[in-house]
């Protein structure tokens, strides 16, 4: 019975399956436009199509970036984690809204600048947030927090969802997710987002990990503090 679903559990299959989800949703939404009775409904469906397509495009872009990591095209520079988190939350708020989810922000860091590649860090935080949106329980928020932790600045995204499978937990504890893993426990993103985040964190020589709570999971990235002053 289970084999009918999971017989082809390769990384490529998982990626294909995950990318099919937003594509098929966009198609369905577009087809459903003819049933909308008024302009407001049409606009709402249009906005949902845009939000869903942006998510899919970003995932494809991230996968493309992974293929280019070996060329070392992504330079490290001082970045303000709050600015990155603001960009990500601004990009995702509509998708969260369509999915009846809330995204909260909590900035507590005193040190302002970290060393990272802004594009890759943006993707890491984006995928953490998307992961939290998919796994968060009904009526429960996802939380993005930034705080100092010794000589590092931590960006952490917490969800209130089901426990993460041990297989993925072990891979993340080791600091590297080898390939996206399909899991019936947390199928919303099937590990693709965590795989992307892991690869980018590893490239930036940042610590990537998770904290298991009894009512959810926090994923984090620890970034080295930049010596450069921030006037932001």
């Amino acid at each position: 019975m289970e084999s009918e679903v999971f017989s082809a559990n390769s990384g490529a299959m998982v990626v294909a399956h995950e990318l099919k989800a937003p594509l098929s949703l966009m198609r369905q939404l577009a087809l459903s436009l003819e049933f909308e009775k008024d302009l407001t409904g049409v606009r709402e469906v249009g906005q949902q199509i845009v939000a869903t397509s942006e998510r899919a495009i970003r995932q494809v872009n991230d996968l493309t970036k992974i293929a280019r990591l070996d060329d070392a095209l992504f330079e490290m520079e001082p970045v303000n984690p709050r600015v990155i988190c603001d960009e990500v939350t601004a990009e995702l708020w509509r998708l969260f809204e369509f999915n009846r989810r809330e995204l909260r922000i909590d900035y507590r860091n005193k040190r302002r600048l970290a060393v990272a590649n802004p594009q890759l860090l943006h993707s890491v935080v984006y995928n953490f947030c998307l992961n939290a949106m998919n796994y968060g329980g009904e009526e429960l928020p996802s939380e993005v927090s930034v705080y100092d932790r010794g000589s590092k600045i931590r960006i952490e995204v917490r969800d209130y969802g089901p426990a993460i499978p041990t297989k993925i937990w072990r891979e993340i504890k080791s600091g590297f997710v080898k390939q996206p893993v399909a899991t019936p426990m947390r199928p919303g993103s099937s590990g693709l987002g965590l795989y992307i985040a892991s690869r980018f964190a590893n490239y930036m020589r940042s610590d990537f990990g998770l904290i298991r709570h009894k009512d959810g999971t926090s994923f984090y990235i620890d970034l080295p503090i930049s010596g450069q002053l921030s006037f932001l």
């Binding site: 019975m1 099919k20 989800a21 098929s24 949703l25 198609r27 369905q28 019936p184 199928p187």
Partner: protein
Amino acid sequence: MIFVIEDDRGWESYYRRILGDSAEYFHDGVAAIAEMDFDEPPALVILDVLLTGPTGFAVLNEMRSYPELMNVPVAIVSSVNLADDIAEKYGVVAVFDKGSMKPAELLEVIERYA
């Protein structure tokens, strides 16, 4: 009442748009079965396959183990490529691929059973 068992938030949002309050929405099969009234079972269950917790097929088998739920019509809507004989094998009224399903096809099933 229609039961929608779907854990993808985007798809849930889509179902809410077309079904509104005529359906109850669940992200996993365990919660859905726990809410099923044996005296007044759902008129139709729209079931995804890759779910949080047990798969759609496990949910289906669990439902079939109760005499009161045995004959509840179930429509599978999934992005998993399933074998052609899956409807017959599992005794479901329809199997839709999310990538090729047309809204009218689903609405037809809903009108017929709910």
